[in-house]
């Protein structure tokens, strides 16, 4: 062994201290600093916390891995035409005040969903689209989610939500009924609406620059 060597000449100590100091620095920069900076960011007044059903739907969004194809972070118009696609203004930290775990996402195999509730406010559309995406968007590669629905012959009973599919996909004598999980998921999707201004109104012209583009379908 390295008998007689001073502290700094022992390789083991160099590895341990060097490795941990460097990791500590990186952690301070990428984890602790954002923590301190964002800890006290107040939620925007226009942003409502999720209700119970929406939270259940959010869990379903996580469980079924929607995040692997859909981002929730529109980019600035100077970088990408996200706003022109109706995805909304560039998002800010406050928009995610109630979002833990975060669902920013890394893929756009499908479109960004941060404002899907504003862009597509139809519950019927969402239910049918979850049951069979290709009934509404030809060429879509989103999976269908038949396990969120019950399909049976006959009619629906009281209190059941029937999915109204467009003609070629609706089969005569058959009803498609949304399970509670599907209803919760749609309730969450409809709650996704950050179309309020990112900044509190300021004197012009700053207020003008911060105003969001009107959401379009």
């Amino acid at each position: 062994m390295s008998a007689g060597k001073s502290f700094w000449e022992m390789d083991e100590l160099r590895i341990v201290t060097g490795a941990m100091v460097i990791l500590g620095g990186a952690t301070a920069l990428l984890v602790v600093m954002p923590y301190l900076l964002l800890k006290n960011v107040p939620p925007p007044a226009a942003l409502k916390p999720y209700d119970g059903e929406q939270l259940a739907g959010r869990q379903s969004y996580i469980a079924n891995g929607c995040v692997y194809c859909h981002s929730q972070q529109p980019r600035d118009i100077q970088q990408a035409p996200d706003a022109k696609r109706g995805w909304g203004r560039a998002s800010v930290a406050g928009d995610y005040a109630y979002d833990t775990p975060h669902l920013l996402g890394t893929m756009r195999t499908g479109p960004d969903l941060l404002n899907i509730g504003a862009r597509q406010p139809s519950k019927d559309w969402h239910l049918g689209h979850l049951y069979q995406p290709r009934a509404y968007t030809p060429g879509s590669i989103m999976p269908s989610y038949p396990y969120l629905f019950v399909v049976r012959k006959g009619t629906a009973s009281d209190g059941e939500t029937v999915v109204n599919l467009p003609p070629p996909f609706a089969k005569p004598g058959e009803v498609v009924i949304a399970k509670p999980e599907a209803l919760a998921l749609v309730s969450y999707l409809l709650s996704l609406d950050r179309t309020y201004p990112a900044l509190a109104p300021l004197p012009a012209p700053a207020a003008k620059a911060a105003a969001p583009a009107k959401e379009q379908r």
Partner: protein, 551 residues
């Protein structure tokens, strides 16, 4: 002063100070033990002698011929005996760990293939919740990362420790317990994702209760390293020990911070997510992969690495720069721009450690490329080392805002991730396992042709996978940036490329099945027991016919 300006100024001053400390430590010899350490992996008088237990007798002859005459270099019997004992001391724990890794590899490949097919056949197998794309894809990622890659890396690292320290492994039972806990964690995590109990963060899907198994398991796996270090019989620590030691410290620390329940929130959690997501590659898989490459390339060739000091520069460069690059995953996102800028700068600085490794390993192999024909181990590892350079340079470029604007959110990034974790890391692991298992089992690979078949299947499969998915991803990114094109056009144009990816992935999976079959055939001691074994120690001698022993 403005916060952003002060933090950038602070970072700048800190970097300048660090540079001076670095130069000072270099000039005072604190940086490492110089060239003597480079030969520490060889026994006395062993330089010049090739070693590849995966090679057949004919290949071994060719390999030695390619490296020149070695009649003058002959290990002392005592040294050979000591090395056999060192190998013996790890055989159980390494055998178990690598077997688990291979099982996870097969399952991970199947999950990956199913995910890939689902992207162009969206109504295929949709009736089972656990098979939906959003579950089978994270199952694939986690099985690859924590099942195959981590356990293969751990197995290889444990096998290397006694070889690097020239002593027997101390505390193998801790590693065995750690590996078992870890595997239970991977199994439970997979079931959790399949059932919909995911934490929802990429690379961190396992619920925190299960993460405890990986933190404790990872820490236990590290214990034999520290115990064996106390018994080391070498003067210098070879660079592989630096990488393994740091990696075994880094992973449990990061995984613990990242999974701490209730600590992270909103956008802060996103920065933490990518601090971890990139560090698990840079500070866990990369160190284990490089440790193996730094051992096996010189060991197979029987010649020390080109520059030992360069390898330590690479180590510290990787540690410092790689640990800060995570923010480049959030370019354009709702995070402070100073954080993104720092990550982009450090991503570019990664060129330094990457070239340190690339130059070092290339200069070591230079002039001996014929050796690749004869050594199955080297074929995989040298290819993997080249892909490390390619993946790293590509990664640095992808961090640039202009490039990232196109590639972010597309399949291009997926292809890049596979270049790193598959092209580099998995290839290095394949080569290492081919070298190690004959020592562990005291048995040669029964069907050498299957090694070639495995190599060509995964090489061709991966080439198809990477090239087509990269092109498709780039076109997808360009289409998304063109506001005149409807979004659906960016989806439709990727379809042929996604189908090509499934073909490539299918070939890779086939290669893994061949590899696994061969692995288990060896485990059950199938195949002819050929003579001229590469093995050392008594078990081999017992297998040699009497007249050969007499001769």
């Amino acid at each position: 002063m403005d916060f952003t300006v002060s933090i950038l100024l602070g970072t700048f001053l800190l970097s300048i100070a660090a540079l001076f400390v670095f130069i000072w430590s270099l000039s005072n010899g604190l940086f490492g033990d110089g060239t003597a350490a480079a030969t520490e992996i060889f026994a006395a008088n062993e330089l010049g002698r090739v070693e590849d237990p995966a090679a057949t007798a004919v290949q071994k002859g060719g390999l030695q011929q390619a490296m020149g005459d070695a009649s003058s270099s002959q290990m002392a019997a005592a040294d050979a005996e000591a090395r056999a004992r060192a190998d013996q001391s790890t055989s159980l724990v390494v055998g178990v760990t690598l077997t688990l890794a291979v099982v996870w590899l097969v399952l991970a490949s199947l999950a990956g293939l199913v995910s890939s097919i689902k992207l162009h056949a969206p109504d295929w197998w949709v009736h089972y919740e656990w098979l939906t794309f959003g579950r089978i894809r994270p199952i694939h990622l986690n099985l690859v990362a924590y099942g195959w890659s981590s356990l293969a890396g751990i197995g290889v690292a444990i096998w290397l420790i006694p070889r690097l320290l020239k002593t027997e492994l101390v505390g193998a039972k801790y590693a065995l317990a750690g590996g078992a806990l870890w595997s239970i964690g991977v199994f439970a995590g997979t079931v959790a994702i399949a059932m919909g109990y995911s934490d929802g963060l990429e690379w961190l899907e396992y619920p925190w209760q299960i993460d405890i198994l990986l933190v404790v398991g990872g820490a236990l796996v590290g214990i034999p390293l520290w115990l064996t270090l106390l018994q080391r019989k070498v003067r210098h620590l070879y660079v592989s020990v630096w990488y393994i030691g740091a990696g075994l410290l880094w992973f449990p620390t990061m995984f613990l911070i990242a999974n701490w329940p209730g600590l992270h929130f909103g956008v802060q959690q996103a920065t933490m997510n990518w601090w971890f997501g990139h560090n698990v590659l840079g500070l866990w898989f990369t160190p284990l992969g490089l440790a193996a490459a730094y051992y096996f390339i010189p060991k197979v060739l029987g010649k020390p690495i080109h520059s030992y000091n360069l390898s330590l520069l690479g180590f510290w460069g990787l540690a410092f720069f790689y640990s800060q690059v995570g923010g480049h995953h959030l370019i354009g996102g709702p995070v402070p721009s100073w954080l993104i800028t720092i990550s982009i700068v450090q991503s570019m600085m990664m060129v330094i450690p990457v070239f340190a490794v690339a130059v070092n390993q290339h200069m070591t192999v230079l002039g001996n490329f014929r050796a690749l024909i004869y050594s199955p181990t080297l074929r995989f590892i040298v290819l993997g080392a080249m892909m490390y350079t390619a993946a790293s340079v590509q990664g640095s470029l992808e961090a640039l805002r202009a490039v990232n604007t196109v590639t972010h959110f597309t399949h291009y990034t997926v292809a890049h991730a596979h270049l790193g974790l598959y092209g580099f890391f998995s290839m290095v692991m394949f080569g290492s396992i081919y070298f190690i298992m004959p020592r562990v089992m005291n048995w040669e690979w029964p069907y050498p042709r299957l090694i070639s078949l495995h190599f060509w299947l995964v090489l061709v499969g991966f080439a198809i996978y990477f090239i087509w998915l990269s092109i498709g991803g780039w076109l997808q990114g360009l289409a998304m940036l063109d506001e005149n094109k409807p979004f659906m056009q960016s989806v439709a144009l990727t379809l042929p490329y996604l189908e090509a990816r499934s073909i490539g992935g299918g070939l890779m999976t086939l290669g893994h099945l061949v590899f696994a079959a061969h692995f288990f055939a060896m485990g059950w001691k199938f195949g002819p027991s050929r003579l001229g074994a590469a093995l050392l120690g008594k078990p081999t001698l017992a297998r040699l016919p009497a007249q050969e022993l007499a001769a």
